[in-house]
Amino acid sequence: MSMKKIFVAFSVASALSSPTAAFAREDSPDQLRLGPTFDLATPSGAAFGVGAELPFMHFLKWNVSATYLLSPGIKGGVLIDPIRFPVAPVLDLDIGYQSTFSIPGMNNSPSTSFSYEDVRAGLAFGRRDFVRLFVLGGETHLDGNASNLTGTFTLPAGVSVSNAHFSGWAPSVKLGISVLF
């Protein structure tokens, strides 16, 4: 994404967070808010889902999303957004599952699937109970399996390789937006 596009996105978020914006409305603490969410993140890929703020707990943004990273997946989580300010620190916790996929363009590619748990921190821009942009970084814990590894290695006759299991921590980033009505 170019710097110009990023600037435009942040400008839109700032405009929407302004009290003079056309969408200005009264914030009521006992109101349930729902709306769409979209993000690009590792390892989940692109995600589109539904977000919610429960009454009297607007510092927690719950979400469930369908994801896509070479194959479909699902994730859910909560974003802790404690400060009602146009720019604020946030903490993001996600869990998800990525269904089996192969590497495109690779002959006899291994197949892999995994579950993951993300912990990220970052900044939120915009109005907390309406439109928020998020830029987050942290770590993800992966746990998965890889099959069809025979094509990955040059194996002599009589030698075979079983499915592999992997687990551990890796870096994770997320760029997302949520809109609540």
Partner: protein
């Protein structure tokens, strides 16, 4: 802004990779021990057979990603081993001293065909990574008059740790 000190450590650990991957390499060899000479029929004799264990390219490729560990979870002979009195298995590789993997007596009543190794998998790793290796089987027993055919199975559990900061 008391929240900031809580999230700063997460920024610091972002970028760390600490992954472990595990898989198994299974190597099977058909071993054919010839019939003993007529003069030795019915007497215990020692015969040998060599098989090749060539996983150097696999080990080499895996070692480029991280630190490897090897555990031999199975070393077995399938087939009728009731004639066996003793088995010795050596691992040979050019440039390395021979490694005695198995040197054990076998009871005629034994049904256990799994022979634990005398060395750890990590001791075998440098040899396996360097060259194609030889598995040198020496069996002692009353070989049947039509010879003996056994299948050797070696299961190597490979784990790899990938770490970076």
């Amino acid at each position: 802004m008391k929240f900031l000190p809580m999230i700063l450590p997460l920024f610091l650990i972002a970028g760390c990779v600490d992954m472990t991957a595990e898989t198994s390499l299974v190597e099977e060899n058909q071993l054919s021990f010839p019939a003993p000479p007529a003069a030795a029929a019915g007497l215990p004799v020692s015969v040998d057979q060599i098989a090749t264990l060539d996983i150097a390219n696999v080990v080499d490729e895996l070692q480029t990603h991280g630190e490897l560990h090897l555990v031999v979870s199975q070393n077995s002979l399938q087939g009728d081993i009731s004639f066996l009195n003793h088995i010795e298995l050596d691992l040979t590789s050019p440039g390395f001293p021979d490694l005695v993997l198995v040197d054990t007596d076998v009871s005629s009543s034994s049904t256990n065909n799994n022979f634990p190794l005398l060395v750890s998998g990590d001791q075998m790793l440098p040899m396996l990574a360097a060259n194609p290796c030889g598995l040198y089987f020496t069996i002692t027993g009353t070989i049947p008059t039509d010879g003996a055919s056994l299948v050797s199975t070696l299961v190597l559990n490979v784990s790899e740790e990938v770490r970076s900061l």
